[in-house]
Symmetry: C2
Subunit: 513 residues, 2 copies
């Protein structure tokens, strides 16, 4: 055994011990293997209608690929009809291209124990992505900083229920736009050992992300394995812009997985009805997914669908709505029929504070997400204010909910132990089960223990200070940050990363574009 | 047209007009007809295992029917094995008795437009049942009074999303225990015209409820139709007590439907595991359901399951848990296989305030309730503090959630209009749908409009006073009570009810037992 292996082994054992008492990530569940049947709300006939409509859209209207000659050239060679930036697709073309994409793949983490499977029965939870603001009960809402980013990275690392480090946990607006991706990617590597996402805001930033991954994993490994997921939003309706195309091409070429996501607020970026919106989502996703396969056949890719609705009064985005649930569920069925891993959902809300609205909308959306069998769930924790704000309290409240989803996804255990006929015979009519041997045996593992809920009597709650859930969450995240310990990282790798970043940062001036 | 008909006709038109603007109940949806497929988490094999175990429990251990010679005599005649108060059931006996119960039935309301179907694809929402306390943001938590009861009756009447008036909206502790049922049943009749529940706390109170129903509907009608649902809790594990048996017999004899409900906090009243708990629930429910058929073959009856878990640390009940979801879903499948309408679920929480915990637990439980295809949902709105408190704010927050459930249960509309191909062709790549003709046509009905959620920008929310959801709910219920108008009631019926109550109240002294 080398020193390094021994060191990792020791950490492994001590981490598992701590996991039981201190809520640091346990190595027993790197992701959820769903054991319950899927909830599927659309009939075979409905799905066929939507697929036929998507085919019509792709043939008649097509998709625009803007300011990217290379993409147009690739489409031309593939047999698509080209009209300037507009590409129309003969029936069956996209399906045949998509056929080379894997139905499931492994995203590697720098700690192999945290590798995740994307696709099939796997469900992988990742935190909120993208907000410019952060908030907590003490300081309120303000612009995010790299310090906040690091805090969210640490909290995400510590949760046994977030399997993935995510990407833009918040925008660190204290750093220049053109250089902050170095600090973001580095923070994921340094403060966590879970799988993470690359930068997509410019092709060069995608290249930098790949280079940093190569420093960590080795260039050959990166070329043959997927170590980053990368969020490619469609500029819905039916447009891929140059920025997203640039990033998509870099990642696909390097065997890294794009999450091709129509970004839809129904009523604004798509029709005001679910059936119409689903046809559009399918058409948009098919085009982007097929493009990754044109660039590198066989590269892993994810069918994404960021989808909600708007208020027809104000135009404001709405979340955790029944329409959002129906759209998410329908899109999950469409992705499964295409044999492509599916990304959607999360713990969504448009509330400005971690109140009842926030929790109600988030609970509706995350339960629907899990029941739909979503494979990769970005925004699973910390999302607030329609995605404009990452909330510290909401992050730990959502983590608690994700813990519950782990139990739900296991379904009902039908083992002889769980059938409990011995307990039923022991207790009999009018007895109680608290003292039964069976209960004692299962005491530790019986029920999920919420870290946020107060189930005490009114009187005890009164004595304890009458806290609400957000106040308890406030205590919780501070306590977690106090006991954070960084995961092991090879010193040589860390130094190489820092050297690369320093060199790159020095090579060109700061800019906020 | 008689005066009365004309009066009802006018009220009907004006009520429909108001419904659009003022949130008084619309006559268009007396209950939900579920159009989405069921979420069913247990396999055929799992269900068969649980059924076999329930059969074993019924044969080997049996059920106790306490202090009720008549029930024991009925069981004896049916062929069951009697051992004092313990009754054991030969295999197949209960199934053959249960076969006479209807798989679906109508509960009549005094306004026929509000009749509800119980069973099949129907979902009927009723408010919280049983709490001794009430709370609101202004006055905090205190014992409930008849005034509170009436307020909850009025608010329930006004909601288009509560189909049923419910029963014990709160305990009116300002009235003597032995007489308060008159005021409760009368309040349901007077302040609402939705279907309601009868008293079950003593056989005489059940008889009084039947008598009051006969005054409203006529004795012959009541004998031939179901006008009351009545909550019969099993004293789990495996005991029916004299009070519940007494009420069950009165209602079954009068053709009124009992909701036979094992009352389970798993780990205390049942094994700490889901599979064991489900076998017990099934055995308990089968015995009570069969007893109603022994008393009056063909009488409507509902398979109930009040089921949650406890904290293994404190023994406190917990709600909105993943274990509760699994149990609810499993029980719904067992009831459907028995062809009996199913009651369970609700908007549960153990929180003491309408905070994020309250909303999270309630959202999880109500979504699971609806997806499981639960037919009658008691506690669908207003439940707080593990059922010890009826909350004014929570009531209206839950009503809003129930509105969302109405949209969800409709599923995805696949009509040509909804496919929206015209809109997709009109807008094309890079456009937006806000101004599309299709969007304009569907503007009014497109998306559910929450009455509680704030979807505005942070800046607008800040200007508006930075309210949280509970504060908006506080404004909402007061506004509703201000514009409450009682439904039409025949004056002669009202006078007969009041005369009956006055006579009965004078006949015996007040008592708090």
């Amino acid at each position: 055994m080398t020193d390094k292996q021994e060191r990792r082994g020791r950490r492994g054992r001590s981490a598992r011990r701590e996991a039981r008492t201190q809520n640091v990530p346990s190595s027993t569940a790197p992701y959820i293997k769903r054991q319950i049947p899927l909830t599927e709300l659309l009939s075979e006939e409905g799905l066929a209608t939507i697929e036929a409509n998507a085919d019509s859209l792709l043939q008649e209207i097509g998709i625009e690929f803007r300011e990217d000659d290379e993409a147009i050239e690739l489409w031309k060679e593939s047999g698509a009809d080209i009209d300037g930036e507009r590409v129309r697709f003969p029936k069956g073309l996209l399906q045949s291209l998509i056929a080379t994409a894997p139905r499931s793949f492994t995203q590697h983490a720098r700690n192999p124990e945290r590798n995740v499977e994307i696709g099939g029965d796997a469900i992988v939870f990742a935190p909120v992505y993208g907000p410019p603001f952060v908030s907590d009960l003490d300081e309120g809402r303000r612009y995010g900083t790299i310090k906040d980013f690091q805090n969210f990275a640490k909290l995400t690392y510590m949760s046994p229920y977030l399997h993935h480090a995510g990407g833009t946990l918040c925008e660190p607006v204290d750093l220049p736009v053109n250089k902050r991706h170095y600090d973001m990617v580095y923070s994921h590597i340094k403060y966590s050992d879970k799988p993470f996402m690359g930068s997509v805001t410019a092709p060069q930033r995608a290249k930098d992300s790949v280079r940093m991954a190569e420093i960590v994993f080795g260039a050959d490994f990166v070329d043959q394995n997927t170590v980053m997921l990368n969020l490619i939003n469609v500029n819905s309706p039916m447009v891929y812009d140059a920025t997203m195309l640039g990033a998509l091409k870099v990642y696909a070429r390097h065997n890294q997985a794009c999450v091709v996501s129509p970004f839809i607020l129904a009523g604004a970026m798509s029709p005001v009805t679910a059936a119409g919106t689903l046809s559009q989502i399918l058409a948009e996703a098919m085009a982007g997914i097929a493009l990754t396969q044109l660039i590198r056949p066989g590269v892993p890719v994810v069918f994404g669908a960021f989808v909600s609705s708007i208020s027809m009064q104000s135009g404001a985005p709405t979340f955790g709505t029944p329409e959002g649930t129906l759209l998410l569920n329908g899109a999950s069925q469409l992705a499964r029929r295409m044999n492509i891993p599916f990304r959607s959902g999360g713990s969504f809300t448009s509330s400005k504070v971690p109140d009842a609205q926030s929790a109600q909308e988030s609970a509706q959306s995350i339960l629907a997400t899990v029941l739909s069998g979503t494979n990769f769930v970005l925004h699973a924790a910390g999302w607030m204010e329609g995605g404009l704000c990452s909330s510290y309290e909401k992050l730990v409240m959502d983590m608690d909910q994700l813990g519950m989803m782990h139990v739900l996804a296991k379904g009902i255990d039908l083992s002889e132990q769980s059938q409990a006929m011995d307990a039923l015979r022991e207790v009999g009519p009018g007895g109680h089960f608290l003292g039964a041997q069976h209960t004692q045996r299962h005491f530790e593992s019986a029920f999920y223990r919420s870290t946020i809920a107060d189930n005490n009597s009114y009187e005890q709650w009164d004595i304890d200070g009458r806290s609400d859930a957000s106040e308890r969450a406030n205590v919780k995240w501070k306590e977690m940050l106090r006991r954070y310990e960084p995961p092991y990282i090879d010193e040589a790798i860390d130094e190489s990363l820092l050297a690369f970043i320093a060199e790159r940062k020095a090579a060109f001036p700061d800019s906020n574009f």
